[in-house]
């Protein structure tokens, strides 16, 4: 391996699954097309039932907690812990997956399901940043501006997303498609700037790539 090897320009990977460097890999190979987005709603094996596809394409803030395959998954999760309290984070995750955010009513329902005090559930839910406390756009765009990304232009990428969506931080576009927020380190520091959009990481994002990314998301949303 020669050190004279060409270094791809940031953003060269058209799939934004990160710079693949000297590896000849497609986006779907990097992301793992056989794995990602194909988990069964009922959770598969109980040991892995806590993993989740995160946001469904269509969210129903009034969805029943839980019914059908989700109820099955909830019960599987319960079997993996010595007490019901320990199932709180996975259950909130599951609730957010189907409802899109964790509202007071959701906390209330989850508290009842797990026989926990309501205030306690609120205390836990607000401790963790991944629970959306209110509705967000179909695509939640979270741009890392922590040190490694910031050194490589993370702030500019954030600005570019805000400009391209014509929103303020945390605001949802009028078509309901995009909400742009700042996020702390996503642990993809070697692929700056890292952006998390719903379940996917978009890596090596540069400001110039932002319109194309939004275009791709719009196309997927149809």
């Amino acid at each position: 391996m020669s050190d004279a090897r060409k270094v791809p320009a940031p953003g060269e990977n058209p799939g934004w699954a990160g710079n693949t460097g000297e590896y000849q890999l497609s986006e779907s190979q990097v992301r793992g097309e056989d794995y990602v987005g194909v988990r069964p709603p009922e959770g598969g094996h109980a040991a892995a039932a806590a993993s989740y596809p995160y946001m469904l394409a269509v969210k129903d803030p009034d969805a029943v907690l839980f019914e059908g395959p989700y109820e099955e998954r909830f019960h599987k999760i319960l079997t993996r812990y010595p007490d019901r309290r320990a199932a709180l984070l996975p259950t909130l995750n599951l609730a957010q997956e189907v409802r899109g955010h964790v509202s007071p009513e959701t906390m209330d329902r989850v508290a009842d399901l797990l026989e926990l005090p309501h205030a306690y559930v609120r205390g836990v839910a607000t401790f963790y940043t991944m629970y959306n406390k209110g509705p967000v756009g179909r695509y939640l765009i979270q741009v890392c501006t922590n040190i490694s990304c910031s050194l490589c232009g993370g702030d500019k990428v954030l600005e570019a997303f805000l400009e391209a969506t014509d929103t303020e931080l945390g605001e949802t576009t009028s078509d309901g498609l995009f909400t742009v927020t700042e996020v702390e380190c996503l642990a993809a520091c070697g692929f700056p700037t890292a952006v998390q959009i719903n379940s996917r990481y978009f890596e090596n994002v540069v400001p110039e790539a932002v319109p194309a990314i939004l275009e791709r998301l719009r196309a997927e949303a149809v």
Binding site: T20, G21, Y35, A48, S51, N146, C185
Partner: protein, 430 residues
């Protein structure tokens, strides 16, 4: 091999199959020698596994560098109550991105390490606590877990040994502090992820009040290799006190950022200038953060003689941490980057201890003001004094971590602060 770039200096043990999608399947992993470590461990018995890990000198890769075999030996030997192993995959330290690669490219390596670790400490159940943001990596791992259950590798009769070895995927929800071991336990139990007071220590009273050991993903990934090849074999790399290989996460201003697996003791200078292809043309090195955002900065002069082992980095004036090397060239605005790191700690402080809760946010506000050109020289004394008040005074070390870059940057890059304070001049744009 390193991902996305590799280098001839590398010793790819853990990273050997990075970038190989086929290695993600059980079949593919077995074809690469997978689960031989677990098979051998079950034959050897617990004590021999712990002895091998002790002999290897493997040290915790999560940042503290505590010898893993010794940690395992703290677990009570009697089995009158359940024990737990927790695999810490809540990778959140800015600059660190090795665990995600280990999970998404070699999920079975992670699982095998977990099962061996659980067996060694007499735990029937291992929880892999993965940070919530790792949706993609988590789904790769989920599938691998299903495969090991299907194949009888995990479960009530792991590999036909009669041992019960369960592994459960647990997904976090966004909180850096859950990477702290007792914060992780609270989070696993469905609580706010606030660190606990020690004592009691986890080996006595851990998750669910029961004896618990918690290990980093990379630590556990090294275990199958050590079990298969023996402790002495592992010592052929690295230094006497820091044996073995380590994944170095290099980010920032280098030509080829990424993970590189190198023997501990590797020269920092060579990592930057050789392995990572150096800085952009015409740029000069300004500073390096060698172990993630929680450790002191090193100046260029301190970097040049520094070797990357636990002792070497301490000697150079910082800490190896989780070997997350963040490189700043002469375009970097040190004040801004320090502010950004402290802001991160303010955002992630759990809020329990007063010095951390109030100190991190107060320091952020002062640094922001300095960055905006409205600082005073007296602010630097205040920052140093606050850092002192935030060091060694709290339940966990998050507040110490916030103070470290502040103290080291004021000590080593005071001119950058003074330029902003006196003339409103920013040094560096990035």
């Amino acid at each position: 091999m390193g991902y996305p770039y590799s280098h001839s200096s590398e010793v790819p043990l853990l990273s050997k199959h990075f970038g190989q999608p086929e290695a993600r399947t059980l079949e593919g992993w077995k074809a690469r020698g997978g689960y031989e470590g677990l098979r051998k461990a079950l034959e050897l018995g617990r004590e021999q596994v712990i002895d091998a890990v002790k002999a290897s000198g493997l040290r915790g890769r999560g940042g503290a560098g505590f010898p893993t075999g010794v940690k395992w030996s703290f677990m009570p030997k009697d089995k009158n109550k359940p024990h737990f192993l927790l695999c810490n995959a809540d990778e959140s330290e800015p600059g660190t991105f090795k665990d995600r690669e280990l999970i998404r490219w070699t999920p079975h390596q992670v699982i095998e390490g977990c099962l061996i670790g659980a067996y060694a400490i007499g735990a029937e159940h291992c929880y892999i606590y993965v940070r919530g943001e790792f949706f993609e990596a988590t789904q790769v791992l989920a599938k691998a877990i299903e495969e090991v259950y299907e194949a009888g590798i995990a479960g009530d009769d792991a590999m036909g040994s009669g041992e019960r070895l369960d592994v459960t995927l647990h997904v976090g929800a966004g909180a850096y502090i859950c990477g702290e071991e007792t914060g992780l336990m609270n989070s696993l139990e469905g609580r706010r992820g606030q660190p606990r007071i020690k004592p009691p220590f986890p080996a006595a009273v851990g998750a669910f009040g029961l004896p618990t050991t918690i290990n980093n993903v990379e630590t556990l990934c090294a275990v199958p290799h050590i079990v298969v090849n023996g402790g002495e074999w592992y010592r052929q790399w690295g230094t006497e006190k820091s044996p073995g290989t380590k994944l170095f996460c290099v980010s920032g201003h280098v030509q080829k950022p990424g993970n590189y697996e190198l023997p501990l003791g590797f020269p920092l200078k060579d990592l930057i200038y050789d392995v990572c292809g150096g800085l952009a043309p015409g740029r000069d090195l300004k500073a390096v953060i060698p172990g993630g955002s929680s450790v002191p900065l090193l100046t260029k002069d301190e970097c040049l003689p520094c070797t990357l082992d636990y002792e070497g980095v301490v000697e150079a004036g910082s800490m190896l941490g989780c070997a997350s090397v963040i490189v700043l060239d002469d375009t970097a605005n040190v004040v801004k980057q320090v502010r950004r790191m402290v802001q991160f700690y303010a955002h992630e402080s759990c809020g329990q201890c007063t010095p951390c809760r109030e100190g991190t946010s107060w320091m952020t506000r002062i640094l922001t003001r300095i960055e905006a050109g409205k600082g005073l020289e007296a602010d630097l004394d205040t920052l140093l004094d606050l850092s002192d008040q935030m060091t060694g005074t709290t339940i966990c070390v998050l507040s110490d971590s916030a103070a470290a870059p502040v103290v080291s940057s004021i000590g080593k890059f005071k001119e950058d602060y003074l330029a902003l304070i006196r003339r409103g001049e920013r040094v560096g744009a990035a």
